[in-house]
Protein backbone atom coordinates (compact mmCIF):
# COMPACT_ATOMS: atom_id res chain seq x y z
CA UNK A 1 0.00 0.00 0.00
CA UNK A 2 1.73 3.12 -1.20
CA UNK A 3 1.97 6.06 1.17
CA UNK A 4 0.73 4.13 4.19
CA UNK A 5 1.34 5.99 7.39
CA UNK A 6 3.37 3.59 9.53
CA UNK A 7 6.59 5.42 8.77
CA UNK A 8 4.92 8.70 8.08
CA UNK A 9 6.90 11.87 8.63
CA UNK A 10 4.74 14.35 6.76
CA UNK A 11 1.93 16.52 8.14
CA UNK A 12 -0.67 14.97 10.45
CA UNK A 13 -3.41 16.12 8.11
CA UNK A 14 -2.97 16.88 4.43
CA UNK A 15 -5.84 18.07 2.26
CA UNK A 16 -5.50 18.84 -1.41
CA UNK A 17 -8.09 20.26 -3.79
CA UNK A 18 -11.13 18.74 -2.09
CA UNK A 19 -14.41 19.15 -3.91
CA UNK A 20 -17.87 17.95 -2.94
CA UNK A 21 -21.30 18.55 -4.39
CA UNK A 22 -24.64 17.70 -2.80
CA UNK A 23 -27.27 17.77 -5.53
CA UNK A 24 -27.10 21.27 -6.93
CA UNK A 25 -25.16 22.70 -3.99
CA UNK A 26 -21.43 22.92 -4.42
CA UNK A 27 -20.40 22.48 -0.77
CA UNK A 28 -16.66 22.39 -1.45
CA UNK A 29 -15.05 23.86 -4.54
CA UNK A 30 -11.37 23.75 -3.78
CA UNK A 31 -10.03 23.25 -0.28
CA UNK A 32 -6.37 22.56 0.46
CA UNK A 33 -4.36 22.85 3.66
CA UNK A 34 -1.96 20.98 5.88
CA UNK A 35 -1.78 20.58 9.64
CA UNK A 36 1.60 19.93 11.27
CA UNK A 37 1.66 17.28 13.99
CA UNK A 38 0.87 18.60 17.46
CA UNK A 39 -0.57 21.90 16.21
CA UNK A 40 -4.06 23.36 16.11
CA UNK A 41 -5.76 24.36 12.89
CA UNK A 42 -8.81 26.60 13.01
CA UNK A 43 -11.23 26.35 10.09
CA UNK A 44 -12.96 29.71 10.15
CA UNK A 45 -16.02 30.63 8.15
CA UNK A 46 -19.74 31.42 8.26
CA UNK A 47 -22.51 28.82 8.19
CA UNK A 48 -22.58 26.93 4.93
CA UNK A 49 -18.97 27.82 4.05
CA UNK A 50 -17.96 24.16 3.88
CA UNK A 51 -16.36 23.71 7.30
CA UNK A 52 -18.54 20.82 8.39
CA UNK A 53 -18.29 19.09 5.02
CA UNK A 54 -14.51 19.29 5.24
CA UNK A 55 -14.54 17.75 8.72
CA UNK A 56 -16.95 15.04 7.59
CA UNK A 57 -14.66 14.10 4.72
CA UNK A 58 -11.61 14.02 7.00
CA UNK A 59 -13.42 11.81 9.52
CA UNK A 60 -14.45 9.30 6.79
CA UNK A 61 -18.16 10.14 7.05
CA UNK A 62 -18.46 11.56 3.54
CA UNK A 63 -16.53 10.71 0.38
CA UNK A 64 -15.14 13.63 -1.57
CA UNK A 65 -15.97 13.96 -5.28
CA UNK A 66 -12.54 15.33 -6.07
CA UNK A 67 -9.19 15.77 -4.40
CA UNK A 68 -7.41 13.83 -1.73
CA UNK A 69 -7.02 13.89 2.04
CA UNK A 70 -4.76 11.94 4.37
CA UNK A 71 -4.55 11.54 8.14
CA UNK A 72 -1.04 10.57 9.30
CA UNK A 73 -0.41 9.46 5.74
CA UNK A 74 -3.52 7.28 5.47
CA UNK A 75 -6.00 8.09 2.74
CA UNK A 76 -9.45 8.91 4.16
CA UNK A 77 -11.21 7.03 1.36
CA UNK A 78 -8.99 4.05 0.55
CA UNK A 79 -7.72 3.49 4.11
CA UNK A 80 -10.75 4.61 6.09
CA UNK A 81 -10.33 1.77 8.60
CA UNK A 82 -6.82 2.87 9.52
CA UNK A 83 -7.92 6.51 9.68
CA UNK A 84 -10.69 5.63 12.15
CA UNK A 85 -8.08 4.08 14.45
CA UNK A 86 -6.34 7.46 14.62
CA UNK A 87 -9.07 10.05 14.93
CA UNK A 88 -11.58 11.38 17.42
CA UNK A 89 -14.65 13.42 16.51
CA UNK A 90 -16.92 15.71 18.47
CA UNK A 91 -19.59 16.93 16.07
CA UNK A 92 -21.89 19.91 16.36
CA UNK A 93 -24.51 18.15 18.41
CA UNK A 94 -23.61 16.52 21.70
CA UNK A 95 -23.70 12.84 20.82
CA UNK A 96 -24.34 11.49 24.28
CA UNK A 97 -27.04 9.30 25.74
CA UNK A 98 -29.22 11.45 27.99
CA UNK A 99 -30.62 8.63 30.09
CA UNK A 100 -27.22 7.20 30.96
CA UNK A 101 -24.70 8.61 33.40
CA UNK A 102 -21.51 10.32 32.31
CA UNK A 103 -19.52 7.30 33.39
CA UNK A 104 -21.74 4.87 31.48
CA UNK A 105 -21.51 7.00 28.36
CA UNK A 106 -17.72 6.93 28.42
CA UNK A 107 -17.48 3.25 29.31
CA UNK A 108 -19.67 2.28 26.37
CA UNK A 109 -17.51 4.32 23.99
CA UNK A 110 -14.48 2.61 25.52
CA UNK A 111 -15.95 -0.82 24.85
CA UNK A 112 -16.78 0.19 21.28
CA UNK A 113 -13.20 1.41 20.90
CA UNK A 114 -12.20 -2.15 21.90
CA UNK A 115 -10.36 -1.14 25.05
CA UNK A 116 -11.70 -4.07 27.02
CA UNK A 117 -13.80 -3.84 30.16
CA UNK A 118 -11.08 -2.85 32.62
CA UNK A 119 -9.30 -0.36 30.45
CA UNK A 120 -12.61 1.18 29.36
CA UNK A 121 -13.51 1.66 33.01
CA UNK A 122 -10.14 3.16 33.91
CA UNK A 123 -10.18 5.45 30.88
CA UNK A 124 -13.67 6.71 31.76
CA UNK A 125 -12.59 7.44 35.32
CA UNK A 126 -9.51 9.29 34.15
CA UNK A 127 -11.41 11.43 31.62
CA UNK A 128 -14.20 12.28 34.06
CA UNK A 129 -11.57 13.48 36.49
CA UNK A 130 -9.76 15.51 33.87
CA UNK A 131 -12.87 17.19 32.52
CA UNK A 132 -14.17 18.20 35.93
CA UNK A 133 -17.03 15.71 35.79
CA UNK A 134 -15.95 13.38 38.59
CA UNK A 135 -18.62 14.61 40.97
CA UNK A 136 -21.37 14.31 38.36
CA UNK A 137 -20.04 11.00 37.02
CA UNK A 138 -22.93 8.90 38.31
CA UNK A 139 -25.69 11.34 37.48
CA UNK A 140 -27.67 11.02 34.28
CA UNK A 141 -26.31 13.21 31.50
CA UNK A 142 -29.81 14.68 31.19
CA UNK A 143 -29.19 16.59 34.42
CA UNK A 144 -25.93 18.16 33.16
CA UNK A 145 -25.65 21.81 32.16
CA UNK A 146 -24.94 22.63 28.51
CA UNK A 147 -21.28 23.17 29.29
CA UNK A 148 -21.00 19.86 31.15
CA UNK A 149 -22.65 18.00 28.28
CA UNK A 150 -20.15 19.51 25.85
CA UNK A 151 -17.29 18.47 28.12
CA UNK A 152 -18.68 14.94 28.32
CA UNK A 153 -19.00 14.87 24.54
CA UNK A 154 -15.42 16.08 24.19
CA UNK A 155 -14.29 13.43 26.67
CA UNK A 156 -16.11 10.78 24.61
CA UNK A 157 -14.15 11.83 21.52
CA UNK A 158 -10.92 11.27 23.47
CA UNK A 159 -11.65 7.80 24.81
CA UNK A 160 -9.70 6.10 22.03
CA UNK A 161 -6.71 8.42 22.65
CA UNK A 162 -6.80 9.83 19.12
CA UNK A 163 -3.68 11.19 17.46
CA UNK A 164 -5.81 13.69 15.52
CA UNK A 165 -8.91 15.24 17.04
CA UNK A 166 -11.72 16.99 15.14
CA UNK A 167 -14.02 19.42 16.90
CA UNK A 168 -16.88 20.87 14.87
CA UNK A 169 -17.93 24.18 16.41
CA UNK A 170 -17.14 23.03 19.94
CA UNK A 171 -18.46 26.11 21.71
CA UNK A 172 -21.46 27.10 19.60
CA UNK A 173 -24.45 27.70 21.83
CA UNK A 174 -22.45 27.88 25.05
CA UNK A 175 -22.57 30.80 27.46
CA UNK A 176 -19.35 32.86 27.78
CA UNK A 177 -18.26 31.18 31.00
CA UNK A 178 -18.68 27.65 29.65
CA UNK A 179 -16.91 28.71 26.48
CA UNK A 180 -13.88 29.90 28.45
CA UNK A 181 -13.94 26.65 30.45
CA UNK A 182 -13.92 24.61 27.29
CA UNK A 183 -11.10 26.68 25.81
CA UNK A 184 -9.08 25.78 28.90
CA UNK A 185 -9.77 22.09 28.40
CA UNK A 186 -8.84 22.28 24.72
CA UNK A 187 -5.58 24.08 25.53
CA UNK A 188 -4.61 21.34 28.00
CA UNK A 189 -5.33 18.75 25.40
CA UNK A 190 -3.11 20.41 22.85
CA UNK A 191 -0.34 20.80 25.37
CA UNK A 192 -0.50 17.00 25.63
CA UNK A 193 0.53 16.69 22.00
CA UNK A 194 -2.75 16.05 20.20
CA UNK A 195 -3.14 17.42 16.70
CA UNK A 196 -6.39 19.35 16.57
CA UNK A 197 -8.63 20.56 13.77
CA UNK A 198 -11.48 22.76 14.95
CA UNK A 199 -14.11 24.69 13.07
CA UNK A 200 -15.52 27.93 14.35
CA UNK A 201 -17.55 30.93 13.33
CA UNK A 202 -15.71 33.14 15.77
CA UNK A 203 -12.47 34.89 14.95
CA UNK A 204 -11.94 35.30 18.68
CA UNK A 205 -12.03 31.54 19.17
CA UNK A 206 -9.64 30.83 16.32
CA UNK A 207 -7.38 33.50 17.77
CA UNK A 208 -7.50 31.95 21.24
CA UNK A 209 -6.86 28.36 20.22
CA UNK A 210 -5.37 28.00 16.76
CA UNK A 211 -1.76 28.04 15.60
CA UNK A 212 -2.91 28.38 12.02
CA UNK A 213 -6.20 29.61 10.60
CA UNK A 214 -7.77 28.68 7.29
CA UNK A 215 -10.63 30.96 6.26
CA UNK A 216 -13.23 29.32 4.03
CA UNK A 217 -16.10 30.89 2.18
CA UNK A 218 -18.40 29.28 -0.39
CA UNK A 219 -16.34 26.10 -0.32
CA UNK A 220 -13.05 27.83 -1.12
CA UNK A 221 -10.05 28.78 1.00
CA UNK A 222 -9.82 32.56 0.86
CA UNK A 223 -7.01 33.09 3.35
CA UNK A 224 -4.63 31.11 5.52
CA UNK A 225 -2.01 31.99 8.09
CA UNK A 226 -1.46 32.60 11.76
CA UNK A 227 -4.20 34.43 13.68
CA UNK A 228 -1.78 37.35 14.12
CA UNK A 229 -1.18 37.67 10.39
CA UNK A 230 -4.90 37.48 9.78
CA UNK A 231 -5.69 40.17 12.31
CA UNK A 232 -2.97 42.37 10.83
CA UNK A 233 -4.70 42.11 7.50
CA UNK A 234 -7.98 43.04 9.08
CA UNK A 235 -6.36 45.92 10.90
CA UNK A 236 -6.82 45.73 14.64
CA UNK A 237 -9.70 47.24 16.60
CA UNK A 238 -12.86 48.75 15.21
CA UNK A 239 -14.65 51.84 16.48
CA UNK A 240 -18.41 51.48 16.35
CA UNK A 241 -21.15 53.98 17.16
CA UNK A 242 -24.47 55.55 16.22
CA UNK A 243 -25.07 59.32 15.69
CA UNK A 244 -27.83 61.64 16.77
CA UNK A 245 -29.72 62.64 14.71
CA UNK A 246 -29.69 59.26 12.96
CA UNK A 247 -30.71 60.86 9.68
CA UNK A 248 -27.20 62.35 9.34
CA UNK A 249 -25.46 58.94 9.44
CA UNK A 250 -24.36 59.12 5.80
CA UNK A 251 -22.98 62.58 6.33
CA UNK A 252 -21.05 61.28 9.35
CA UNK A 253 -19.61 58.46 7.26
CA UNK A 254 -18.39 60.94 4.65
CA UNK A 255 -16.73 63.03 7.36
CA UNK A 256 -14.68 60.04 8.52
CA UNK A 257 -13.17 59.10 5.18
CA UNK A 258 -9.42 59.03 5.56
CA UNK A 259 -9.47 59.04 9.36
CA UNK A 260 -9.12 55.31 10.07
CA UNK A 261 -7.24 52.46 8.51
CA UNK A 262 -9.90 52.02 5.88
CA UNK A 263 -13.20 53.49 4.79
CA UNK A 264 -15.97 53.72 7.39
CA UNK A 265 -18.64 51.07 6.99
CA UNK A 266 -22.26 52.01 7.19
CA UNK A 267 -24.76 49.54 8.62
CA UNK A 268 -28.09 51.07 7.56
CA UNK A 269 -30.19 48.44 9.27
CA UNK A 270 -28.66 48.96 12.69
CA UNK A 271 -28.04 52.66 11.96
CA UNK A 272 -24.46 52.31 13.10
CA UNK A 273 -21.09 53.23 11.70
CA UNK A 274 -17.92 51.23 12.13
CA UNK A 275 -14.46 52.55 11.51
CA UNK A 276 -11.45 50.20 11.27
CA UNK A 277 -8.68 51.81 13.30
CA UNK A 278 -5.69 49.64 12.43
CA UNK A 279 -2.32 51.25 12.97
CA UNK A 280 -3.90 54.66 13.27
CA UNK A 281 -4.91 53.62 16.82
CA UNK A 282 -6.16 56.07 19.42
CA UNK A 283 -5.16 59.07 17.35
CA UNK A 284 -7.83 58.05 14.89
CA UNK A 285 -10.42 57.84 17.67
CA UNK A 286 -9.63 61.39 18.78
CA UNK A 287 -9.67 62.68 15.21
CA UNK A 288 -12.97 60.98 14.45
CA UNK A 289 -14.70 62.31 17.54
CA UNK A 290 -13.42 65.85 16.89
CA UNK A 291 -14.68 65.90 13.30
CA UNK A 292 -18.12 64.68 14.31
CA UNK A 293 -18.30 67.16 17.18
CA UNK A 294 -17.33 70.04 14.89
CA UNK A 295 -20.12 69.04 12.54
CA UNK A 296 -22.59 69.22 15.43
CA UNK A 297 -23.23 65.48 15.60
CA UNK A 298 -23.72 63.68 18.90
CA UNK A 299 -22.28 60.21 19.29
CA UNK A 300 -24.34 57.46 20.80
CA UNK A 301 -23.45 53.95 22.00
CA UNK A 302 -19.74 54.21 21.36
CA UNK A 303 -17.89 50.91 21.42
CA UNK A 304 -14.38 49.80 20.67
CA UNK A 305 -14.39 46.19 19.60
CA UNK A 306 -12.01 43.59 18.29
CA UNK A 307 -12.39 42.62 14.67
CA UNK A 308 -15.09 40.02 14.14
CA UNK A 309 -15.55 37.40 11.49
CA UNK A 310 -17.61 40.00 9.65
CA UNK A 311 -14.65 42.37 9.53
CA UNK A 312 -12.39 39.59 8.30
CA UNK A 313 -14.78 38.85 5.49
CA UNK A 314 -15.31 42.46 4.65
CA UNK A 315 -11.57 42.90 4.33
CA UNK A 316 -10.82 39.66 2.52
CA UNK A 317 -13.80 39.41 0.20
CA UNK A 318 -15.43 42.81 0.19
CA UNK A 319 -18.69 41.29 1.39
CA UNK A 320 -20.08 40.46 4.76
CA UNK A 321 -20.07 36.93 6.10
CA UNK A 322 -23.54 35.82 5.05
CA UNK A 323 -24.90 34.09 8.08
CA UNK A 324 -27.07 31.15 7.21
CA UNK A 325 -26.27 30.99 3.51
CA UNK A 326 -28.56 28.01 3.37
CA UNK A 327 -29.67 25.20 5.60
CA UNK A 328 -26.62 23.58 7.13
CA UNK A 329 -25.99 20.45 5.13
CA UNK A 330 -25.94 17.22 6.98
CA UNK A 331 -24.71 14.86 4.33
Amino acid sequence: MAGSGADHNGPAVAVSSLGKRFGTVEALRDVSFEVARGTVLGLLGPNGAGKTTTVRILTTLVRPDRGQATIEGFDVVRQAGEVRELIGLAGQSTAIQDELTGRENLEIIGRLAHLGRRRARARAEELLERFGLAEAADRRARTYSGGMQRRLDLAASLVGAPAVLFLDEPTTGLDPKSRLDLWGVIRELVAGGTTLVLTTQYLEEADALADEVVVVDHGTVIAAGTPEALKDRVGGAVLEFAVVPAARLTEAAELLIGVGDGPPVLDEQEARLSLPLGRAGTAAVVAALRRLDEAGLTIDGLALRRPSLDDVFLTLTGHRAEQAVGPELRR
Binding site: G81, E82, I109, A113, L158, A161, E188
Partner: protein
Amino acid sequence: MSATPVRDPGLRPPRPPAGPSPRPGQRSGPLRRLRVALGDALTLTRRDMLVWTRVPTFVLFSVIQPVMFVLLFRYVFGGAIHVRIPGGYVNYLTPGIIGQSAAFASFSTALALAREIQRGVVDRFRAMPMARSAVLVGRLLADGVRLTVTMLILLAVSVAVGFRFRTGPGDAIGMVALAVAFGLAICTVAGFIGLAIRDEEAVGTFGLIWLFPLTFVSSAFVPVQSMPGWLQAFAKNQPVTIVIDELRALAVGGPLVLHGWESAVWLAGIVGVFVPLAVRAYRRA
Protein backbone atom coordinates in the same frame (compact mmCIF):
# COMPACT_ATOMS: atom_id res chain seq x y z
CA MET B 1 -10.35 23.11 36.04
CA SER B 2 -6.65 23.61 36.39
CA ALA B 3 -4.91 25.48 33.65
CA THR B 4 -1.67 23.53 33.92
CA PRO B 5 -1.13 21.33 30.95
CA VAL B 6 -1.14 17.71 32.01
CA ARG B 7 0.16 15.17 29.61
CA ASP B 8 -2.53 12.67 28.94
CA PRO B 9 -1.10 9.23 29.65
CA GLY B 10 -3.75 7.77 27.36
CA LEU B 11 -2.74 9.91 24.43
CA ARG B 12 -0.47 8.53 21.82
CA PRO B 13 2.83 10.25 21.50
CA PRO B 14 3.49 11.71 18.08
CA ARG B 15 3.63 8.54 16.04
CA PRO B 16 7.15 7.12 16.05
CA PRO B 17 8.66 6.52 12.64
CA ALA B 18 8.87 2.82 13.37
CA GLY B 19 8.25 -0.17 11.14
CA PRO B 20 4.79 -1.45 10.31
CA SER B 21 2.67 -2.13 13.35
CA PRO B 22 -0.21 -4.58 13.42
CA ARG B 23 -3.43 -2.87 12.51
CA PRO B 24 -6.80 -4.31 13.29
CA GLY B 25 -8.87 -4.42 10.14
CA GLN B 26 -5.85 -5.27 8.05
CA ARG B 27 -4.51 -8.33 9.78
CA SER B 28 -7.70 -9.82 11.10
CA GLY B 29 -9.38 -12.81 9.55
CA PRO B 30 -13.10 -13.04 8.87
CA LEU B 31 -13.67 -14.99 12.08
CA ARG B 32 -12.11 -12.30 14.25
CA ARG B 33 -14.04 -9.65 12.34
CA LEU B 34 -17.25 -11.51 13.09
CA ARG B 35 -16.35 -11.75 16.77
CA VAL B 36 -15.60 -8.03 16.91
CA ALA B 37 -18.88 -7.25 15.12
CA LEU B 38 -20.83 -9.38 17.56
CA GLY B 39 -19.05 -7.81 20.53
CA ASP B 40 -19.84 -4.29 19.27
CA ALA B 41 -23.48 -5.26 18.69
CA LEU B 42 -23.79 -6.73 22.20
CA THR B 43 -22.28 -3.60 23.76
CA LEU B 44 -25.01 -1.57 22.07
CA THR B 45 -27.68 -4.11 23.04
CA ARG B 46 -26.66 -3.68 26.66
CA ARG B 47 -26.71 0.09 26.22
CA ASP B 48 -30.23 0.05 24.74
CA MET B 49 -31.53 -2.17 27.51
CA LEU B 50 -29.86 -0.03 30.15
CA VAL B 51 -31.64 3.00 28.70
CA TRP B 52 -34.99 1.17 28.96
CA THR B 53 -34.44 0.44 32.63
CA ARG B 54 -34.00 4.20 33.11
CA VAL B 55 -37.22 5.03 31.29
CA PRO B 56 -39.72 2.56 32.76
CA THR B 57 -42.60 4.63 31.37
CA PHE B 58 -41.46 3.80 27.84
CA VAL B 59 -41.63 0.08 28.51
CA LEU B 60 -44.96 0.49 30.25
CA PHE B 61 -46.48 2.39 27.33
CA SER B 62 -45.22 -0.13 24.83
CA VAL B 63 -47.27 -2.77 26.67
CA ILE B 64 -50.31 -0.67 27.53
CA GLN B 65 -51.36 -0.09 23.93
CA PRO B 66 -51.59 -3.77 22.95
CA VAL B 67 -53.30 -4.57 26.25
CA MET B 68 -55.89 -1.91 25.43
CA PHE B 69 -56.44 -3.55 22.06
CA VAL B 70 -56.99 -6.89 23.74
CA LEU B 71 -59.60 -5.41 26.06
CA LEU B 72 -61.32 -3.33 23.35
CA PHE B 73 -61.69 -6.19 20.90
CA ARG B 74 -62.49 -8.73 23.56
CA TYR B 75 -65.27 -6.74 25.20
CA VAL B 76 -66.35 -3.94 22.79
CA PHE B 77 -66.10 -5.22 19.20
CA GLY B 78 -65.85 -8.91 19.94
CA GLY B 79 -69.56 -9.42 20.51
CA ALA B 80 -70.34 -8.30 16.94
CA ILE B 81 -67.68 -10.43 15.26
CA HIS B 82 -68.65 -14.02 14.60
CA VAL B 83 -66.04 -16.68 14.06
CA ARG B 84 -66.21 -20.43 14.08
CA ILE B 85 -63.21 -21.33 16.17
CA PRO B 86 -62.90 -23.49 19.27
CA GLY B 87 -63.02 -21.27 22.36
CA GLY B 88 -64.76 -18.38 20.59
CA TYR B 89 -63.57 -14.93 19.50
CA VAL B 90 -60.99 -14.49 22.25
CA ASN B 91 -59.10 -17.44 20.81
CA TYR B 92 -59.36 -15.93 17.32
CA LEU B 93 -58.30 -12.49 18.57
CA THR B 94 -55.26 -13.34 20.67
CA PRO B 95 -52.96 -14.57 17.88
CA GLY B 96 -54.12 -11.56 15.82
CA ILE B 97 -53.24 -9.07 18.53
CA ILE B 98 -49.94 -10.84 19.12
CA GLY B 99 -49.06 -10.45 15.45
CA GLN B 100 -50.27 -6.84 15.26
CA SER B 101 -48.40 -5.83 18.42
CA ALA B 102 -45.22 -7.51 17.22
CA ALA B 103 -45.43 -5.40 14.05
CA PHE B 104 -46.13 -2.14 15.89
CA ALA B 105 -43.30 -2.74 18.35
CA SER B 106 -41.02 -1.70 15.49
CA PHE B 107 -42.14 1.90 15.96
CA SER B 108 -39.54 2.53 18.64
CA THR B 109 -36.83 0.98 16.44
CA ALA B 110 -37.48 3.57 13.75
CA LEU B 111 -37.66 6.40 16.27
CA ALA B 112 -34.50 5.39 18.11
CA LEU B 113 -32.38 5.06 14.97
CA ALA B 114 -33.62 8.36 13.54
CA ARG B 115 -32.81 10.03 16.86
CA GLU B 116 -29.31 8.57 16.91
CA ILE B 117 -28.58 9.97 13.48
CA GLN B 118 -30.09 13.33 14.34
CA ARG B 119 -28.13 13.64 17.55
CA GLY B 120 -24.81 12.81 15.91
CA VAL B 121 -24.38 9.49 17.73
CA VAL B 122 -24.18 7.63 14.43
CA ASP B 123 -21.55 10.10 13.17
CA ARG B 124 -19.42 9.36 16.20
CA PHE B 125 -19.79 5.60 15.74
CA ARG B 126 -19.07 5.76 12.02
CA ALA B 127 -15.86 7.67 12.72
CA MET B 128 -14.76 4.88 15.09
CA PRO B 129 -13.13 1.58 14.13
CA MET B 130 -16.22 -0.39 15.07
CA ALA B 131 -18.41 -2.73 13.06
CA ARG B 132 -20.77 -1.06 10.56
CA SER B 133 -23.50 -3.51 11.47
CA ALA B 134 -23.35 -2.92 15.22
CA VAL B 135 -25.91 -0.13 15.59
CA LEU B 136 -28.56 -2.04 13.64
CA VAL B 137 -27.77 -5.52 14.97
CA GLY B 138 -27.41 -4.29 18.56
CA ARG B 139 -30.75 -2.56 18.31
CA LEU B 140 -32.42 -5.65 16.82
CA LEU B 141 -31.07 -7.90 19.58
CA ALA B 142 -32.42 -5.53 22.23
CA ASP B 143 -35.71 -5.37 20.33
CA GLY B 144 -35.84 -9.17 20.39
CA VAL B 145 -35.70 -9.12 24.18
CA ARG B 146 -38.27 -6.35 24.36
CA LEU B 147 -40.58 -8.19 21.95
CA THR B 148 -40.36 -11.42 23.93
CA VAL B 149 -41.25 -9.64 27.17
CA THR B 150 -44.13 -7.77 25.50
CA MET B 151 -45.49 -10.97 23.93
CA LEU B 152 -45.42 -12.82 27.26
CA ILE B 153 -47.21 -10.00 29.09
CA LEU B 154 -49.77 -9.85 26.31
CA LEU B 155 -50.35 -13.60 26.50
CA ALA B 156 -50.82 -13.39 30.25
CA VAL B 157 -53.46 -10.65 29.83
CA SER B 158 -55.17 -12.66 27.09
CA VAL B 159 -55.33 -15.72 29.32
CA ALA B 160 -56.83 -13.56 32.05
CA VAL B 161 -59.66 -12.54 29.70
CA GLY B 162 -60.35 -16.08 28.53
CA PHE B 163 -57.76 -17.14 25.93
CA ARG B 164 -56.66 -20.79 26.11
CA PHE B 165 -54.04 -22.63 24.08
CA ARG B 166 -55.62 -25.70 22.48
CA THR B 167 -52.29 -27.08 21.36
CA GLY B 168 -49.22 -28.45 23.16
CA PRO B 169 -46.48 -26.47 24.89
CA GLY B 170 -44.19 -26.95 21.88
CA ASP B 171 -46.66 -25.15 19.60
CA ALA B 172 -47.19 -22.45 22.22
CA ILE B 173 -43.47 -21.77 22.38
CA GLY B 174 -43.39 -21.89 18.59
CA MET B 175 -46.08 -19.23 18.46
CA VAL B 176 -44.15 -16.83 20.71
CA ALA B 177 -40.98 -17.50 18.71
CA LEU B 178 -42.71 -16.83 15.39
CA ALA B 179 -44.28 -13.65 16.76
CA VAL B 180 -40.87 -12.40 17.90
CA ALA B 181 -39.28 -13.35 14.55
CA PHE B 182 -42.06 -11.56 12.70
CA GLY B 183 -41.66 -8.50 14.94
CA LEU B 184 -37.92 -8.45 14.24
CA ALA B 185 -38.48 -8.71 10.50
CA ILE B 186 -40.77 -5.67 10.67
CA CYS B 187 -38.11 -3.97 12.84
CA THR B 188 -35.66 -4.25 9.93
CA VAL B 189 -38.18 -2.40 7.73
CA ALA B 190 -38.72 0.23 10.43
CA GLY B 191 -34.97 0.43 11.02
CA PHE B 192 -34.45 1.18 7.34
CA ILE B 193 -37.15 3.86 7.49
CA GLY B 194 -35.61 5.45 10.58
CA LEU B 195 -32.13 5.47 9.06
CA ALA B 196 -33.37 6.77 5.72
CA ILE B 197 -35.67 9.53 7.06
CA ARG B 198 -33.30 10.51 9.92
CA ASP B 199 -35.76 12.85 11.51
CA GLU B 200 -37.34 11.76 14.73
CA GLU B 201 -40.37 13.95 14.34
CA ALA B 202 -41.08 12.92 10.75
CA VAL B 203 -40.67 9.27 11.69
CA GLY B 204 -42.99 9.76 14.65
CA THR B 205 -45.64 11.29 12.39
CA PHE B 206 -45.41 9.33 9.14
CA GLY B 207 -42.91 6.57 9.66
CA LEU B 208 -45.30 3.75 10.37
CA ILE B 209 -48.53 4.72 8.64
CA TRP B 210 -48.10 1.75 6.31
CA LEU B 211 -48.55 -0.60 9.26
CA PHE B 212 -52.22 0.34 9.67
CA PRO B 213 -53.55 -1.06 6.39
CA LEU B 214 -51.19 -4.01 6.66
CA THR B 215 -52.33 -5.06 10.13
CA PHE B 216 -56.02 -4.12 9.88
CA VAL B 217 -56.61 -5.40 6.36
CA SER B 218 -55.55 -8.82 7.52
CA SER B 219 -56.96 -11.76 9.42
CA ALA B 220 -55.85 -10.17 12.72
CA PHE B 221 -59.27 -9.07 14.00
CA VAL B 222 -61.89 -10.33 11.56
CA PRO B 223 -62.05 -13.25 9.14
CA VAL B 224 -60.84 -12.17 5.71
CA GLN B 225 -64.03 -13.67 4.19
CA SER B 226 -66.08 -10.85 5.77
CA MET B 227 -64.32 -8.22 3.58
CA PRO B 228 -65.43 -7.13 0.08
CA GLY B 229 -63.97 -9.29 -2.68
CA TRP B 230 -61.44 -6.78 -4.03
CA LEU B 231 -60.04 -6.29 -0.54
CA GLN B 232 -59.94 -10.02 0.15
CA ALA B 233 -57.52 -10.49 -2.70
CA PHE B 234 -55.03 -8.27 -0.88
CA ALA B 235 -55.90 -9.40 2.64
CA LYS B 236 -55.48 -13.09 1.88
CA ASN B 237 -52.10 -12.84 0.27
CA GLN B 238 -50.27 -10.30 2.34
CA PRO B 239 -47.63 -11.38 4.88
CA VAL B 240 -49.42 -10.21 8.03
CA THR B 241 -52.38 -12.50 7.30
CA ILE B 242 -50.07 -15.37 6.45
CA VAL B 243 -48.07 -15.00 9.65
CA ILE B 244 -51.15 -14.47 11.82
CA ASP B 245 -52.85 -17.55 10.34
CA GLU B 246 -49.77 -19.53 11.29
CA LEU B 247 -49.78 -18.00 14.82
CA ARG B 248 -53.43 -18.98 15.08
CA ALA B 249 -52.73 -22.53 13.92
CA LEU B 250 -49.99 -22.78 16.54
CA ALA B 251 -52.35 -21.50 19.25
CA VAL B 252 -55.61 -23.25 18.56
CA GLY B 253 -54.76 -25.91 15.98
CA GLY B 254 -55.12 -26.07 12.22
CA PRO B 255 -52.98 -26.71 9.15
CA LEU B 256 -49.44 -25.69 10.13
CA VAL B 257 -47.28 -26.66 7.22
CA LEU B 258 -48.52 -24.46 4.39
CA HIS B 259 -48.66 -21.20 6.35
CA GLY B 260 -45.42 -22.19 8.07
CA TRP B 261 -43.54 -22.33 4.78
CA GLU B 262 -45.16 -19.21 3.46
CA SER B 263 -44.36 -17.35 6.69
CA ALA B 264 -40.74 -18.46 6.59
CA VAL B 265 -40.37 -17.32 2.99
CA TRP B 266 -41.95 -13.94 3.71
CA LEU B 267 -39.79 -13.32 6.79
CA ALA B 268 -36.63 -14.33 4.95
CA GLY B 269 -37.64 -12.11 2.04
CA ILE B 270 -38.30 -9.07 4.24
CA VAL B 271 -35.04 -9.48 6.15
CA GLY B 272 -33.11 -10.20 2.95
CA VAL B 273 -34.31 -6.98 1.35
CA PHE B 274 -34.37 -4.57 4.26
CA VAL B 275 -31.20 -5.43 6.17
CA PRO B 276 -28.99 -4.53 3.18
CA LEU B 277 -31.09 -1.41 2.59
CA ALA B 278 -30.77 -0.40 6.25
CA VAL B 279 -27.01 -0.99 6.25
CA ARG B 280 -26.71 1.10 3.10
CA ALA B 281 -28.73 3.90 4.70
CA TYR B 282 -26.45 3.70 7.75
CA ARG B 283 -23.31 4.00 5.66
CA ARG B 284 -24.72 7.08 3.98
CA ALA B 285 -26.13 8.61 7.14
